[in-house]
């Protein structure tokens, strides 16, 4: 299919261009805060993209996805605390630990459906939260300061804010591309088939459980990468990185931006976090404004912002897509 030049494509391209060019603007204007904010947005967008793989494409409503942010973050923090600050060790450990946790949690929780699945993923994530809160050696509740960011070979230097931003952005685009390839592969079609009609998938000959489990593990692993980045960005990691409200934020990003779309989670992350920033500057009670806005999107723009843009594009060109 040839991508038509429509509103949806336009917004996506403009958003990507803005993200790529942002350091030029912040460099010229000296607005360091904006760069920090957007580094955080890009990292959380990566977590949302990973959640979208299982929630949007796989139909697995995990309410514990922030656990992998915590595991990835703590892998970096704990290793740094023990004097191992090589990124070549820290990051693979972050990914492997997230994958292993996802494998165990997924193997158990994927035997349940619906509300039970939501509750069991939430329960496991909270268990992880309290486990890290109980690690006295690593700061317990108060968390752990990271004095040295992950070390790679020169010229890579994560302490350089602009460079770190571009590394995060490149990884985000890499993850979006990876998820896009996955969802269009044989594996991706099986996962989407299982979301649509699991019984039928088994009837035509697919052992769906193992495909859903692999999808669960991939999503958790990718989120672990976002966790490792987040710990580097804040130079700090504490249990609050994986509190259940964070999992809720990730779900909101995916739903707001558009489930099962390649760029929806990125759009949702930018929209939610920028809105949060702007509204909290206006009033202390910004959630009173944010809440109804989210409600409007859920009620009137099913398919999120991405779906809304697609619909508007269809109307603008005089004919909707069938």
């Amino acid at each position: 299919m040839r991508p038509a030049l429509n509103l949806r494509t336009l917004v996506t391209v403009v958003l990507i261009a803005a993200l790529v060019l942002l350091p030029l603007y912040t460099g010229l204007s000296g607005n360091r805060f904006l760069l920090t904010l957007f580094t955080r947005i890009v990292i959380l967008a990566m977590a949302a993209v990973s959640l979208n793989l299982m929630l949007g494409y796989g139909g697995m409503m995990s309410f514990g996805h922030a656990a992998y942010l915590g595991i990835g973050g703590y892998a970096v923090g704990m290793l740094a605390h023990e004097g191992i600050d090589s990124g070549f060790v820290q990051w693979p450990v972050a990914l492997a630990a997230s994958a292993l946790f996802a494998l165990v949690i997924g193997a158990l929780s994927l035997r349940t459906r619906g509300v039970y699945f939501i509750m069991i993923t939430l329960a496991f994530a909270q268990m992880a939260y309290y486990m890290f809160a109980g690690l006295a050696r690593y700061g317990g509740d108060d968390g752990l300061t990271i004095y040295k960011r992950s070390q790679f070979v020169a010229p890579v230097d994560l302490s350089n804010k602009t460079q770190f931003y571009y590394i995060c952005l490149a990884l985000l685009f890499g993850v979006i591309y990876l998820v896009w390839r996955l969802t269009n592969s044989r594996f991706g079609l099986v996962v989407q088939g299982a979301r649509s009609n699991d019984l039928r998938m088994r009837a035509i000959g697919f052992p769906t459980y193992r495909y859903r489990l692999v999808c669960f593990v991939i999503a958790g692993t990718l989120c672990g990468l976002a966790g490792a980045l987040l710990a580097n960005q804040t130079d700090f990691v504490s249990p609050s990185i994986m509190y259940w409200t964070r999992s809720g934020d990730l779900i909101i990003m995916v739903v707001l931006g558009g489930m099962a779309t390649p760029f929806g989670p990125l759009i949702g992350a930018v929209a939610l976090l920028v809105l949060e920033e702007v509204l909290s500057g206006i009033t202390e009670y910004w959630q009173i404004i944010l809440g109804p806005l989210l409600l409007l999107v859920v009620l009137f723009a099913r398919g999120g912002i991405d779906g809304l843009l697609t619909n508007l594009s269809g109307k603008a060109s005089g004919q909707g897509r069938s």
Partner: protein, 257 residues
Amino acid sequence: MSGPGNHPMLRVQALAKRFGGIVATDDLSLSVAEGELHAVIGPNGAGKTTLIAQLSGQTTPDSGRIYFAGADITTLPMYKRSRLGLARSFQITSLFLDLSVLDNVALAVQAHTGHSFRFWRDARSEPELREPARAALARAGLSARADQPASALSHGEHRQLELAMALAGSPRMLLLDEPMAGLGPEESSAMVAMLRALKREVTILLVEHDMEAVFALADRVTVLVYGRAIASGTPDDIRANAAVREAYLGESEDAHV
């Protein structure tokens, strides 16, 4: 029970299934010869869908055995039976409504082409999947609708797509659960023509309410009442069977007995 000279493709032996106090399948034995179209009829609640569910592996029987092509499949999970060549269509249309019509059939093809832990290549551009899928759609008369979402099809087209998906894996045997359900007269006769074209090529167990269709298609008919086979024979035998007339056909106005 099987026809002369044929070994049975499917053999069911003393099958039983209870749900609480309700007996859904009661000491049921039947066999279907290779190439045969065997119809199972019976009033509502006779346990026809429960039988299909046990044959396909969706439900486990309490006792009894099921043999497919000589192998005991009683405890095999659903996906393994499908891989052996035992395909099923659903009474209540069961499709991937948010995927395209072609994707629906291509998934059924994919199920029979090895494992699907293939993560990179675009599955929608693999001729190995798309060509057999297009062929199955053509056979079901749905070629023109290939790129529409499955949710855009009419009820009759959904039934055709069900069949196309069941056929896409080149099964040895089809379990068809009321393929005519909810079809208009024209769609119904198109479906009968399609099934007639399939006969011999693939063994079929047909559960159906539409008596006209059953008597037009079936080589053999088994009549279920309260989960028990009260009669089994050629369509002519069944028409002439007094117990059947009393238990079942008498209730049906358009049975043409």
